[in-house]
């Protein structure tokens, strides 16, 4: 493809890029994030790192939204609450194993080798159960009915969370050492390594599953055309259940990670992280796996930079302002171009 053809195809993206560069060149000094970052790059790198690790958790939850949307065109609002129940699972696990901040690291690792998969299994089953009970009977009903059903399930699970651990945030013992592993070019702590060590394999594993396995192929086919997939001999109901199982497992895993990383479990996590994750999924192009992951990390970085250089109060204005700008230029989100990746 020659340059002229490429330019013709991506005119809007190029124009957007030129506008962004021009705005930064002219007004950069008065945009706090830009001027702050260029003034002290190493500190900026620390803040970006904080955002990346927070963003990874958001990305895992965002994958749940995007997986289900890809296959059913349904926003599974309960996904945020399933994630929250994952953090509750971690809290219960810590109590069952009697872990404290003085427990030796090997014991903690062994305990979590049990807690993480068990929680993921439970939340996977829960999510698939929600689909069976609250969404499948409504599959031929108007989309709004399923949407309301999803919102209802979300409220029910929020209250289950409150019943389980009470209305206030509950602290977990600090099990992850907060010692710095490196400080240059940016601070990386043991807790960051922990988040990465669980998140990245989950992300890669999911993408491999969807792209390379027979079941993944069935998921993609069902996403493209449910009825045609059925005619080709794909068990559509089973494939949809599998999608919900995967989404639930990811949400539960993210819940365990957040409980350890933030050191708390709270029934309101479902809402606060859920909204971010949903936004991240739309941002990256809902239905697109890579888009959700990139969107989550991008939002995490944006929130972190905003809290450091601007004011946490402006978080939603900054996040949704940028979301609107992106959607104006790319209405389908950053990565939604390739239909074949949808699952």
């Amino acid at each position: 493809m020659n340059i002229a053809a490429w330019f013709a195809k991506n005119t809007r993206a190029v124009i957007a890029l030129v506008v962004v560069v021009a705005v930064l060149a002219v007004f950069g000094k008065s945009i706090p994030i830009w001027s702050g970052c260029t003034a002290a790059l190493d500190r900026c790198a620390d803040i970006v790192a904080i955002g990346v690790f927070q963003g990874m958790i958001v990305a895992l939850v965002a994958l749940g939204y995007t997986l289900v949307y890809g296959i059913l065109q349904l926003i599974n609002f309960a996904n945020g609450s399933v994630f929250m129940l994952g953090s509750v699972g971690a809290l219960f696990g810590v109590e069952i194993f009697g872990l404290t901040k003085d427990t030796p690291a090997t014991t903690v690792i062994l305990a979590f080798a049990v807690i993480l998969p068990v929680t993921m299994l439970l939340t996977a089953g829960l999510n698939a159960g929600i689909e069976r009970v609250a969404y499948r009977p409504l599959r031929r009903a108007p989309t709004l009915a399923t949407l309301i059903s999803a919102i209802g399930m979300d409220f029910i699970l929020q209250n289950v969370g409150q019943v389980l651990i009470g209305p206030s945030p509950v602290s977990l013992p600090s099990l992850l050492p907060t010692t710095n592993i490196i400080t240059e070019p940016f601070v990386i702590k043991v807790s960051h390594v922990f988040v990465t060590a669980i998140t990245v394999p989950l992300l890669i594993g999911l993408m491999w599953f969807v792209q390379a396995t027979r079941q993944g192929k069935a998921m993609r086919a069902t996403a493209q055309d449910r009825e045609a997939a059925g005619l080709m001999g794909i068990d559509v109901n089973r494939t949809i259940s599998l999608t919900f199982l995967l989404a639930g497992a990811l949400a539960g895993g993210a819940g365990v990670i957040v409980a350890l990383y933030n050191g708390s479990a709270w029934w309101q996590y479902g809402f606060s992280y859920g909204l971010l994750a949903f936004t991240a999924a739309v941002f990256g192009g809902i239905g697109n796996l890579l888009g959700a992951a990139v969107g989550g990390i991008f939002l995490g970085v944006l929130i972190s930079l905003n809290a450091f250089y601007v004011d946490p109060r402006w978080q939603d204005v900054v996040v949704f302002g940028i979301l609107v700008v992106v959607l104006v230029f790319r209405p389908t989100g950053l990565f939604a171009a390739k239909q074949s990746e949808r699952a």
């Binding site: 206030s168 933030n262 309101q268 946490p312």
Partner: protein
């Protein structure tokens, strides 16, 4: 037990009937009137409000449920929802509207949260119902110049008579004593945070101003909104500023535990101070180890520090409700109920014959309250409806428990 109660009731009813028949209402039973309390009865404030409700019942029981011949029917109203886990605007509005149309309601004890008071005061003001709060500490509710420009005038619309009183000292004093305490603790630079809500911002603004006035350097004043998922970047920003002490104006339910964890991770040796909004066990549960060493201010004293009448009341109350039955605001709930009952008595003795007259008389009597002898000592309501009682305590969290440290503001 049940039988004797029924019997007693029957006897009272017969007596009342005969009294009415013979002397035309001048005897032992003048009728039934209501008082309500409005508190968040679900969510993490429940532990605290349970004890306040007990204290109100205790005050009423001490008078046998009657005041100067009037039978007092007390209703424990709830302005929270299970969904929110704290008070909601919808519930507060609904309760205030219902109260305004309840003709035999003579006085209102509440609210617990200052935000709810903002909604309720003007509605009750229009209906001429006196309101006594055991826990609101936002200064703008009563004090001109301490809140926004139009406070407190907006709470008394159309020139209705001032109907709001509180038996706790307001936050301008709490922010004030906090700043002086920070100075005493050896801090020279402070960083101020608030949770963007009316209570938190109010107390943080006062701390900010008082700290500057006391000669401390305020390095910054930021917002830590409760819906934030974490505060790690904000903590990094504060660590860069390098203050000796961080002051947080806010409540536990706005994710204060997470804030504490993130601040401690970024600055292990920082001094942390907060107001009574985080003076509750739920805060220690939420912040875990990060809560250790936190300095807290609150109006009044811990139960163990009570002296005189308050100590006597504490012992009797614990005998009835158990050793853990007293939290910070419990005694204020008792004092609020007592000052209300005393005002009803004054109104009745001044000749109020029906519920409407009793309601108006109670409001007048509360406005005129001077040198009231209660468990908190002898105090008065000033022209703004504030108590003259100004004792504060400073506590420190040690080994996961609140420990009294010092008396402030004297």
């Amino acid at each position: 037990m049940k039988l004797t109660k029924v019997g007693a009731l029957a006897a009272v009813a017969v007596l009342a009937f005969s009294a009415c028949g013979t002397s035309g209402g001048g005897g032992g039973d003048k009728g039934t009137v209501q008082i309500w309390s409005e508190l968040p009865r679900q969510g993490s404030s429940k532990g605290q409000t349970d004890t306040i409700v007990n204290a109100i019942k205790y005050a009423l029981d001490a008078r046998g449920g009657k005041v100067d011949g009037w039978t007092i029917k007390y209703t424990d109203q709830d302005d929270s929802t299970a969904e929110a886990g704290k008070w909601t605007q919808e519930r507060a509005t609904a309760l205030a509207t219902e109260a305004a149309s309840t003709t035999d309601l003579v006085a209102y004890i509440g609210t617990f949260n200052s935000g709810a008071a903002k909604i309720v005061i003007p509605v009750l003001c229009g209906a001429g119902i006196a309101m006594v709060s055991p826990a609101n500490t936002y200064p703008g509710l009563t004090k001109p110049g301490k809140g926004t420009a139009d406070e407190p005038g907006i709470y008394y619309p159309g020139g209705c008579a001032h109907n709001y009183f509180r038996v706790v000292p307001a936050d301008d004093l709490q922010g004030d004593v906090g700043a002086l305490w920070a100075k005493d603790l050896g801090a020279t630079t402070v960083y101020v945070l608030d949770d963007t809500e009316i209570y938190g911002k109010g107390v943080a603004d006062v701390f900010d101003a008082s700290a500057t006035a006391a000669g401390l350097t305020v390095l910054g004043h930021d917002q830590a909104p409760g819906k934030s998922t974490d505060f790690k970047a904000l903590a990094a920003k504060i660590a860069d500023a390098g203050p000796d002490l961080v002051y947080y104006g806010g409540i536990t339910q706005n994710n204060a535990g997470q804030l504490w964890k993130d601040l401690r991770e970024a600055m292990p040796d920082i001094m942390l101070m907060g107001p009574d909004g985080i003076y509750e066990d739920a805060f220690i549960e939420a912040a875990g180890d990060a809560a250790e060493g936190t300095y807290l201010t609150f109006g009044g004293q811990t139960a163990d520090q009570y002296t005189g009448d308050a100590a006597k009341w504490r012992d009797e109350f614990r005998t009835k409700y158990g050793p853990d039955s007293i939290e910070v605001y419990t005694i204020y709930g008792y004092e609020a109920a007592n000052v209300v009952l005393a005002a009803i008595e004054t109104a009745s003795k001044a000749g109020a014959k029906d519920a409407a007259a009793l309601r108006a008389g109670t409001l007048a009597a509360l406005t005129a309250t001077k040198d009231f002898k209660g468990v908190l000592g002898t105090w008065s309501f000033d022209a703004n409806g504030d108590t003259s009682n100004k004792v504060f305590s400073g506590s420190v969290i040690k080994s996961g428990k609140f420990e009294f440290d010092t008396v402030l503001g004297q």
